[in-house]
Structure formats: C-alpha cells, structure tokens
Symmetry: C2
Subunit: 386 residues, 2 copies
C-alpha cells in the first residue's frame, strides 16, 4: 500500500452561480488544483456528487467532467453517498493511487443546486433519508435533524442558546475566506432571533445550500521531489463507516456510531489520539451535528459537545478549532462538494496559508464528512511532513 | 498491489419484479454471493446503480443496502457511470482490496426500473446522454444508437439482416439461463419483422430494461486456501476509459475509443492478446454496440463486426463466444446491474458451470461494460487458475 500525498488544491466560491454550469464549476476547481500541483496532466478523475441526475438532468459525471477538463479517455467515475459524496470521491482516489493501479488522480466534489430544473431541492435532498420509513412520513432533512436536536436538549439539559457559539465561530471565520458564501459575523442576538425552520433549528443552526466545487490532486509519496513549492501533505488516516439510514432504527439516535468507528480507525492508522489533532473540519450541516461529531470523534464526552463552543475551544486559537474557514454554516454546503471543501481547507491550514484564521503551527488536520443524518461518515487525517 | 480473486457469485432473475424492492433485489444477490463464497461476513460493499434517485426516491445506496444485508457499520459507497455503473463498482472494490486497505468486498450492481415512481424511464435513461447538446434536441438513447447504426450501414455496406445473428445467438443462449428474462429462441424472420423502435433499430436489436441485481465477493489471492469448493478465478486485467458523452463530438462516431483503450490496457496487464480470450461478455445493449465492441476490442477489423455473427464465431462453440448466457438482449438490461451480471456470467463459464452454453474448457473470460453510448467503458479479464 503506497503512501499518498496531496499536492494541489482548487475551489470555487460557494454561491448562487446562476451563470455557471455544473461542468464549469467542476472545471474551475479541477484545473486550479492541477495547476496548483504543477502538473500538466493527471491519470484519472474521481467525482463526488449527489444530485446531478435530478438537479441538472445529467448523470455520468465522470466522463462528462473529464472531457471538459481535457481528460477525455482518462479513467473517471462518480461516487455518491449523499452529503458524504465529496470525501467518498477522495477516498476512492486515495485507494486507486495507493493500490498502484493509478499514478495520479484528481478528486473533485461538485454540486449545482440553486437553479435546478428538477424542482424543489428539499425533496431532492430528502432522497438521502429512508424512502420507505422516513420520506413516506413527509419529513424533510431539516425536520429529521430538528428531532435529533430536540431530543438532545431534552436528554442533556442544554438550551438552544448553548449552540450559538458553533454558528458565531463559523461566521467569524468565514469573514477571512474569499471562497465562503456568508462572509459576515453574527451576534448571539442574531442567532437567537433568526427565523425558525423546524423547531429548534432556526436559520442560524442550518447550513445553506449553494453551488460550488472543490478539488485536490493525489500522487504517491514516492513520486514527490522535496523541491515542491508547497509543504508536503500526507494522508495518514482514512476510514469510512455506515449506519442505518433511518434514525429511529439506531440504538442511540444521539450518537454518531459511524463517526466513532471511522475516527477510531483513522486515529489508529495514524498512530494518534484526538489530543494530537490541531484542527478539525467537521460537518456542521446543522449545529447539532457539530456537537455530535465532536463527541463521537473523541473531543468531548457524550452530551458535552456544546461546552467546547461555550469555552471558546472551537475557535482558531482554541484547543480544537473547527469550521476554521467558515464550515458548512458560513462557507456554504453544496452537498456533494462539501467533503472536498473540508479537505481543501485542512490543506490550507497545514500549508499555513489560512489567512486570518490560521491555526498556529498546525501540522495535523482532520476532516469528517457526513452523508445523511449520520448514515455514511468518512474521516481523514492529513499531516504536514516538512 | 495485491492480486485479487473472485470467490462468490449471486444474482436474481432479470424480470419485472413488482413484488420486490430495490434493497430486496440487491440483498438477494449479495447474500447469495457471500454464501457462495463460504464467508460469514465481508468488510465492505460497493454498489453500482444508475437511477435510484429518480426511479426509487432513494440515494445513499451504500449505507441503505449495507444495513439491509447485515453489514451496518461497514464501509460502503455507490458508484455511477450510467449503464457502466455495475463494473465501476467491481473496479472500485478491486482497487480497494488490492490496495491492502480492505480485506474483503462485495460488489453489487442493482437496478429497479419497472414500477418507478419517478416517471418515464426513457427520460431517466437519457440523463446518460449530454444534457446540453443531446437531450436538448429531444433524442432518446435508442435514437442515438439508431443514428450510429444508420451511419454504420451506410459506411460499411451491411444491411440490417446482417445483424440478426447477434440477436438470434443471445436468445438461443438465454434458453439455458434460469436468470434470463427472455428464455426463448427467435428466428431470422422474427428478427426482421419485429416492431421498429427507431429506424433501423427494432425490438430485436434493443435490449429490454428490467429489475435485477448481481454480486460477487472479492478477496486477496493470498487469503485463499486451495481447498475452496470452486475453481479459483483471478482478476488478471482491469481497465477503464472515458470518451466524450456527446457522440457528435467524437472524431469517429463508429469507433469505441474507450473500448479500444480499456481492452488494450487489460490485455497488456494480463499479457494476452484477443486470440487468448475464450469468451467475451460484451455490452449488446443494441446489436450495433455488439459489432462496435468486437471491433474496438480487437476481435474483428474495423467495419467487419457483423461477419463474426454471420460466420457463427460468436456462438458458444465458435471462435469468440459472446452473450453466452443471453447477453443484455435476452438476459435483460437492468442498467446499473448489467456490468455485474457480465462478471457473474464470465465466472460461471470459468467454473465450467454454464449449463447448456458452456464454452468447452474455458480458462480466460473477458467482460466489457459500456456506460452511455461509449462514454465510459470498463474491460475486465478473469482467469481460472486451478
């Protein structure tokens, strides 16, 4: 199993890109990643995307995007695991390169949601829930997360206000990220008074959808010269785990078992513990998910996730910085692209290029991407090695 | 790069399974493959599927099917490359196992098309074409293939009757396959007189959609004991290539460049030439595709594909048997499952268990799965090693 490095990154701003098609967005990210890597060509392309069939009338995104970026004839596929699609493409690219079958790969996550010919996006997003047991009851994805948050407040005695720091931190960090959708700070008052979506989740608990693409280039470490323009970033942990899609079918709906399994595997591969992680790009699609992710990944005890927000430990200067470039909440959440934005942002931090929100001396970063309400979770750990 | 063997196979009959859901079909195939392999558990699941988002209101098939077959918490993803999705899942599973990251995997292709809540299947299939340049003109997938066939007849001087042997052979072979949808022979007269779909493609040139699932189990060769119940089948060639999705954008619309590239790579990995292949499960979604696939893969000269049908060389007793269990034409074409049916059928042949259509002494079999009208093509070569 060859060791693999990430040598190029690229991304578009998350926005309502009504003037850009899906392939233009993906192309921008792929070509800037390849350029950033200093390569002329790569061998293969792995695409993460959730909803192009309905939102863009287009399947077969592997061939579609490969052709557009000048990789006609190259190997290329699409990976899908709902909002976890981005990092699924990253992991597939990693396995292909580490197997020795392929010598270089681009992984790109892309989603084009805001001017969809496929009708209402809320229904399209709901295909990540269980069609028979959840959709048939008429719940949306926000509603499912609201049920989880409601139960969490009841079970552990927190109030809604205790979740404010997750949103405030994400927005404060996004100010410095030119690729983020919402580049403005918010106050606790604004958090509390935001319009309710599905009680207790209001607009400031929920990430916004958007259009965007993010990409990285992977090559075997053995092909690297140490004259590269950028610090070398190695993938030292990669793991994925699933859980039941239907939330009622889990033994404990307040515990992200797939996050626990995949993070433990990744720690073990890297020979690390949570204390060694300098920053953690987690999947704050809803503020409750930030809390659950911190707990299941070993950064907080069960039921204690919000305390890391209240203590300031999640800030770039804190013990375990999260959402350092805005997170899903303020950078935006183009669903199939999100996992790749997280990886790109971890690399920016490890290159010490996260202007305005740099985690000082960051050497080890972790990204965790969640598909569905925790039904498919991937954890990756990256390390700066020079 | 570890060598990988296929040790278990499973499939459902291709049919209109109105009484079985997508996960029940996939489950049947997965569980029989795992049982056939003599395993109790596998580490991971790779799902090939094209249209569950629209046809079944369900994405996230990795977690969805993993949970259903008792693999909750295991790693699992969905791969999509239109009608090439099945073998894309197979290749992803192969790379994962050969990388050393995973010690056993099931690859399953599944499609549930015939009682879809998502509306007309022809439109859903058309998402494999180019939305901007093909769909916008109102062409269906059959129409695109009809344009190719029309051009082929014009260019090389064949008549429609010359394609009859592809369909006749497929139907003759399907008689012996209990998993095939159409188990009856057809005559040349029936072929000629069948109802026209899109001139010159009639009902006997076109494969039928259907519901079905097929699965195999992959493990590293090093884990095999030679006491296995079945002959050991090793994967000795695996390659994938893309082409433009829009057919008008290809230099030569009568040449499957991605088939040429992927088959040449697979031959080279296996150290073989087309003469060494004992049987070839090709992608006869339309009879014209059978001819083009034979040519691009080195079995016939350019423009000479139909001659292999006319000479009888494509029969189980011929020089290069194709569609030995009925092919897409008569076994049926549940699109995202087809690539896995092909692999399963190659393995049946190499186990010398293809009752009624056994290719005598078959040791080396090839499968080629096509996504779109040739925009994503995967070629696999398997060998019996004991």
């Amino acid at each position: 199993m060859r060791e693999v490095a990430v040598i190029g990154i690229g991304q578009t701003k998350v926005d309502e890109h009504w003037n850009k098609s899906l392939k233009e967005l993906a192309g921008e990210a792929v070509l800037s990643a390849v350029h950033d890597a200093g390569l002329k060509q790569v061998d293969s392309l792995f695409v993460g995307n959730m909803m192009s069939a309905s939102a863009n009338n287009q399947q077969q995104l592997g061939a579609y995007i490969a052709d557009w970026v000048g990789l006609r004839y190259a190997e290329s596929f699409k990976l899908e695991s709902a909002c976890g699609s981005g990092s699924a493409a990253f992991r597939a690219a990693l396995l292909a390169v580490s197997s020795g079958a392929i010598d270089s790969a681009v992984a790109v996550g892309v989603e084009k949601m805001t001017d969809s010919p496929g009708g209402e996006i809320t229904s399209q997003l709901a295909t990540a829930a269980d069609a028979d047991w959840e959709l048939a009851q008429g719940v949306s994805f926000v509603a499912l997360n609201a049920l989880i948050m409601q139960r969490y407040l009841h079970e552990y005695g927190w109030t809604k206000r205790d979740f404010a720091p997750f949103s405030i931190n994400a927005h404060a960090n996004a100010v410095y990220n030119p690729y983020a959708r919402f580049r403005k700070e918010i106050t606790e008052k604004q958090y509390i008074e935001a319009g309710m979506v599905a009680d207790p989740i209001n607009l400031m608990d929920a990430s916004a959808i958007g259009d965007g693409a993010a990409a990285v280039v992977l090559i075997p470490l053995e092909r690297l010269t140490f004259n590269n323009a950028f610090p070398i970033i190695k993938i030292i942990g990669s793991a994925a785990a699933t859980d039941s899609i239907a939330i009622h079918d889990r033994k404990d709906p307040l515990w992200l078992k797939a996050a626990e399994i995949s993070s433990k595997k990744a720690y073990s591969q890297a020979g690390l513990t949570p204390e060694d992680i300098d920053l953690f790009e987690l999947h704050d699609a809803f503020s409750i998910m930030a809390a659950l992710s911190l707990e299941a990944s070993g950064f907080a005890e069960r039921g204690k996730g919000p305390s890391l927000g209240l203590s300031g430990d999640i800030k770039p200067t804190g013990k375990i910085p999260i959402a350092t470039r805005g997170g899903l909440k303020a950078r935006g959440h183009p669903v199939g692209a999100t996992g790749m934005y997280q990886i790109v942002e971890v690399i920016q931090q490890l290159r010490w290029a996260a202007e305005g929100t740099q985690v000082e001396g960051a050497k080890i970063g972790m990204a965790q991407n969640i598909g569905g309400s925790g039904s498919n979770i991937l954890t990756h750990i990256l390390q700066r090695i020079n």
